[in-house]
Symmetry: C2
C-alpha cells in the first residue's frame, strides 16, 4: 500500500462564505503539494441563522457541486454545516468527508481544560453537535455554549480589532468568564478573524481554540493514503456562488495575498438532485481504483 | 369606472426577511379590508450584501411565487430588491409593481430638507437608486449616502435600544451629522426597528424618514381602483422560504401581536423560470377581466 501513487485529484472544501478560508490556509500550509477547490456559497450565506433542513439542503448542494468536479476528499469548513449536516453528507457521498466539529473538540481537550466554552452561530449551538462530541470524548468536562450571532457580521465588516467588537464580545463572553471557563472553542470559521478583540476580552488565562489547524492535522492523520507526497507546488481554485466584493477583501487578509482569480458557479442551477449523477460517477471510478491497486 | 367591483384578490408583498413587515403593518392600517400575502425569503437573506445579478434572480423568484398565488398588486418591501431589481420586475410581471424607493424619496423631500442622507445596505447604496431618484425629483437637494451593513444583524438580534447599537450608529452617522444632514432616509425596512438608538444618535434636529407609511400612501394614491372599499376585515398570510425562529420573535414585535401561523414555501423548487407559466396564467386572466369590464 505504501508504494501506491498519490491521488492527483484536488481536495474540496466548502463554507457558506469566507470563514472557511482559515481552514484552507491551514491545509495549504500542511499540504503544499496538494490542489484545492474552495467553494463559498456566498449567494445563500449565512447558514448560521437558518433551519437545519435548509442547511442540509444547501450543504448537499454545495458538496454536490464539488463532487461533480471529482474531488478526492471533502472538508466541510463550515461549523454550521458540520454541526447540522455531516451525517447526511457522509451518507450521501462516496468519498471521505471531514467536518470541523470533532477536530475542534479534540484540540480543546488537548489544552487540558476542564471547563470548556463553545461560541458559534445560532445553528451550530442549537444543534448540540459540539456539546455531544465533548460529552462523548470527555464525559467529565463541563461545557457551556453561547450563540454569538453578531460575530459573523462584525468579521465580514472587517471590525476585527474594534471597540464595538470588544463590547459585543464582552456581552457574549461574560457569562462564560463568570463561570470560570478555561478554554473556548471558536466554533465558527469566521471567529479567528476576531482574535484581537476576543483575546483582549477573554484575558490571558483563557485558551482560545481555533479548529483550523486541528482540521488540517485530522486530514493528514486520517487520509495520508490519498495525499500527494511530492514536493511540488499545488494550486488553489476559489469558487463562489455569488460575486462578493467583501469576500475578496477578507480573502486577501486571510490568505495573506490577493486572490488571483475567483470563479462564479451556479449552485442552484446544478441538476436536482445534484448528487444522483455525481454519486454514480464517483462510485464507478472508486471501483476502478480498487481494481487497479 | 367608479361603479366597478373592487378586486377581491390579495396584495402580495415580499422582502428578504422580516423587515418588510413594517410596510405590511402600514398597509394593514391604511387598508383594513384588504387581504395580504407576505413572503419573506428567509432561506436566502440577506439580500443587501449580495450582487445585483443575484438580487434580481431572487426577486424574480420571490415575485413569481406570489404571482402564482394570483395577487393583484405587488409591493417590493425590500429596499435592496427595489433598488436593484424594480425595472426587471416591472418588465417581467403583468401586474402593478411598487417599490419603496420613490415613496421614501418623496417623503424625505416633503420634510423640506435640503441636505438629505441615505442609510441602507451595501447593495442599496451601491445601486445609486435613491441618489438617482433624489436628483431627478429635486435637483437642488444635496445627498450623501452611507452603507450600514451591521444595522440589519443588530435589528435581527433584537438590540433595538442598546449601547452597542448606539456605538455602531455613531460610527455610521457621524459623517452625515458633521456634514449638516437635515433628514435621513431609512432606506432599509429593518431600520425603523432601530429608531430608539438612531434617534438618540441623530438628535432632535434631524428628521428620520421611514418609507413604510409613504409606501402605503402610494398604494392608495395610485391603485385605488384595485382596492377593496368594503368595511370588512381582511386577512394576512405570512409565508417564509425557511423556518426562522427569529422571524416570529421580530414579527410579533412589529405587528404588535403573535403571528397566528406561518407557512413554509419552497421558492427554489418553484418551476424554472417561474415567471413563464405564472405570467401566461395572469395574462390570460387579465384579458378575461378586460372583456368583463
Amino acid at each position: 500500500m505504501s508504494e501506491q501513487q498519490p491521488d492527483p485529484r484536488p481536495i474540496g472544501i466548502f463554507d457558506s462564505g469566507v470563514g472557511g478560508l482559515t481552514v484552507l490556509q491551514a491545509l495549504c500550509r500542511r499540504l503544499p503539494a496538494e490542489s484545492f477547490i474552495y467553494l463559498g456559497d456566498t449567494a445563500r450565506l449565512p447558514y448560521g441563522s437558518k433551519s437545519a433542513a435548509t442547511v442540509q439542503r444547501y450543504a448537499l448542494n454545495a458538496a454536490g457541486t464539488l463532487v461533480a468536479q471529482d474531488v478526492k476528499l471533502l472538508v466541510v469548513a463550515c461549523n454550521t454545516a458540520s454541526a447540522q449536516a455531516l451525517p447526511q453528507l457522509v451518507d450521501a457521498l462516496p468519498l471521505p468527508v471531514l467536518g470541523v466539529v470533532e477536530p475542534g473538540v479534540r484540540a480543546a481537550l488537548a489544552t487540558g481544560a476542564h471547563r470548556v466554552g463553545i461560541i458559534g452561530t445560532e445553528g451550530t449551538i442549537r444543534s448540540g453537535a459540539y456539546q455531544a462530541n465533548l460529552v462523548r470524548l470527555a464525559p467529565k468536562v463541563s461545557v457551556q455554549a453561547v450563540a454569538c450571532p453578531l460575530f459573523v457580521p462584525l468579521a465580514e465588516e472587517g471590525w476585527w480589532d474594534h471597540p464595538v467588537t470588544d463590547a459585543v464580545a464582552r456581552h457574549y463572553l461574560q457569562p462564560l468568564l463568570d463561570w470560570g471557563v478555561e478554554a473556548i472553542i471558536l466554533a465558527c470559521t469566521h471567529y479567528p478573524l476576531l482574535l484581537p478583540s476576543l483575546s483582549r476580552v477573554a484575558g490571558p488565562g483563557v485558551k482560545l481554540v481555533d479548529s483550523a489547524s486541528a482540521v488540517a492535522d485530522a486530514v493528514v492523520a486520517r487520509h495520508s493514503r490519498l495525499l500527494r507526497r511530492t514536493l511540488g507546488k499545488g494550486s488553489v481554485r476559489l469558487q463562489l456562488s455569488d460575486a462578493s466584493a467583501s469576500f475578496l477583501r477578507v480573502a486577501a487578509a486571510i490568505l495573506g495575498s490577493p486572490s488571483s482569480s475567483v470563479e462564479l458557479v451556479d449552485i442552484e442551477q446544478a441538476p436536482r438532485p445534484p448528487l444522483l449523477t455525481t454519486v454514480a460517477g464517483r462510485a464507478s471510478s472508486l471501483r476502478q481504483e480498487s481494481h487497479e491497486t
